[in-house]
């Protein structure tokens, strides 16, 4: 939509930005790399959809002190081709999204390392009452300069127990038919669990070609020690705090609890057998 070199002028604040290149587009908006008169770089997200751009601005201003979200500098309008557009100016994240990492492949340890950070961000947001319900590879960026993980795209977060507004079927609990499209802890665990499967398998699974059972079966060997906790995450009701703790501890407690269950079972059986023999 905007040509490289185009100078965009805000109607209300009057600031000017020069378009360098297009860096992304999603459902409702286009994202451009731009610079201002001091030659500072920004990402400019622009759309005709007033509601969704304003929503994202509001959300990002409330996250100003969080290093996992891009900083937001302004919200303004621009008239382009006789149509009113709305845009936000964001901190430019110099890096790449998880999409690229998934394509290039990544080993289990690094995947779990990144994943723990993502879970940490989801939990921090949840503590603020914000449910990040559109988790997917293209919304997670790795900032190569500041060496951190950034969740971008706050246009469709939800409050607790709200309907999930925008979703991507591959990561959506309801599309996989293991729960409602409702913002709760289980929804977050599901989308996160699916993201981990993608990271490890190097591809996304489609809900209309596979069942959860098939996904688990195919990824079992690659998931290794995380297999059991991922089973839980993908059942749709798992507490995201537990998911986080289990990953943080390299799944030690999950394994321990499984062995404990086995032990209890065996002890119980022996007891029953002894009882029978005694009678």
């Amino acid at each position: 939509m905007l040509e490289n070199g185009y100078v965009l002028t805000g109607i209300h604040n009057g600031r000017k930005y020069v378009v360098e290149k297009k860096i992304g587009n999603g459902g409702v908006a286009d994202v451009y790399l731009v610079h201002d008169d001091k030659n500072l770089k920004y990402a400019l997200k622009i759309s005709e959809d007033l509601i969704s751009i304003t929503r994202e601005y509001k959300m990002l201003t409330s996250l100003k002190n969080c290093d996992f979200a891009p900083r937001v500098f302004e919200l303004d309008d621009a008239l382009l081709y006789n149509k009113m557009y709305h845009y936000i100016v964001l901190e430019y994240i110099d890096g790449y999204s998880l999409d690229r990492l998934i394509k290039s492949g990544i080993d289990l340890e690094s995947a779990s390392y990144i994943f723990v950070e993502i879970l940490d961000i989801l939990l921090r947001l949840k503590r603020l009452g914000i449910f990040y319900t559109d988790l997917k590879p293209s919304n997670v960026m790795i900032d190569e300069v500041k060496k951190r993980i950034v969740l971008i795209d706050y246009g469709s977060t939800s409050a607790k127990d709200d309907t999930v507004k925008e979703f991507t079927p591959e990561f959506d609990r309801a599309s996989w038919k293991v729960g409602l499209r409702k913002a709760d802890s289980g929804y977050l665990s599901f989308e996160a669990g699916m993201l981990f499967v993608c990271l490890v398998m190097g591809k996304t699974f489609r809900h209309d070609y596979h069942t959860i059972g098939e996904v688990l079966k195919q990824s079992k060997s690659k998931l290794g020690k995380f297999y059991i906790v991922i089973i839980k995450a993908l059942n749709g009701t798992y507490d995201i705090n537990k998911l986080y703790v289990n990953f943080k501890n390299g799944c030690f407690s999950e394994k321990a609890s499984m062995y404990l269950n086995y032990m209890l079972f065996i002890v119980g059986m022996i007891f029953v057998i002894l009882m029978i023999l005694a009678v």
Partner: protein, 229 residues
């Protein structure tokens, strides 16, 4: 503020070939306070994208051009966006009455509060939505996906605090009539599920008549409610 959100969503994979221009019917519906949106499925390449766009622009709604694989996401997004538009327009008109300014006339940062209010209303407003499903021959292979999408939408809407009612209209009707009511307005998912179980595709594409029929359903509803009041 209590708002009843009335909307029609047309789902088709071709161009209409019987009856009038669907955009005209959409315009009439919009004049009666019903927002008309459209989803075009491009799988086979005989979709008239212009027609899809015209229905939405005359009907005050939104449109989406998709492959049938994407139907679940699209139906939910279109329903959502169309409801947002209704609330936006309602508040826009209120604001104009109150302070003589439109939402776009406000400073962008001030709009945040309006958007927050829209989000709140989205959750608590009652929604009445008619889904118009193209049952012409070419839809046969996509019918299963369409049905899944509709069932999925119903369960999503259940999460909201406001009431949701749906009705399902198929066009054409096998027995020569132009469009048929598969399931009249109901809030029970079961009713719709029963209705769509035995759907068969085949015949023409009388989109105009389907929109007309849906519009008339909203009117009889309104009258019966008035009758009770």
């Amino acid at each position: 503020m209590e708002i009843l959100i009335k909307q029609i969503i047309v789902v088709t994979d071709g161009k209409s070939n019987v009856g009038g221009n669907p955009a005209d019917a959409a315009f009439l519906a919009f004049r009666k306070g019903i927002r008309v949106s459209s989803i075009g499925i491009v799988d086979d390449g005989n979709l008239s994208i212009k027609e899809i766009k015209d229905i939405a622009s005359s009907g005050g709604g939104v449109y989406d051009i998709i492959y049938s694989d994407d139907f679940i996401r699209s139906l939910s997004a279109v329903t959502q966006k169309s409801a947002e538009k209704t609330l936006y327009d309602t508040l826009d008109a209120e604001l104009m009455k109150l302070i003589g300014k439109s939402i776009e006339g406000l400073h962008p940062v001030l709009r945040s509060q309006i958007v927050e209010y829209i989000d709140r209303l989205l959750d608590i407003s009652d929604i009445r939505c008619a889904i118009l499903l193209d049952l012409s021959g070419s839809m046969a292979r996509k019918l299963k996906k369409a049905v899944n999408g509709i069932i999925d939408l119903l369960s999503t809407m259940k999460v909201r605090k406001g009431k949701s009612q749906f009705c399902l209209i198929g066009f054409p009707d096998g027995n020569d009539a132009y469009a048929k009511i598969i399931c009249p307005f109901t809030s029970k998912i079961n009713d719709i599920e029963i209705g769509i179980k035995n759907l068969k595709a085949g015949g023409n594409t009388p989109t105009y008549h389907a929109i007309k029929l849906a519009t008339s359903l909203f009117e009889t509803e309104a009258e019966s409610i008035r009758g009770i009041g």
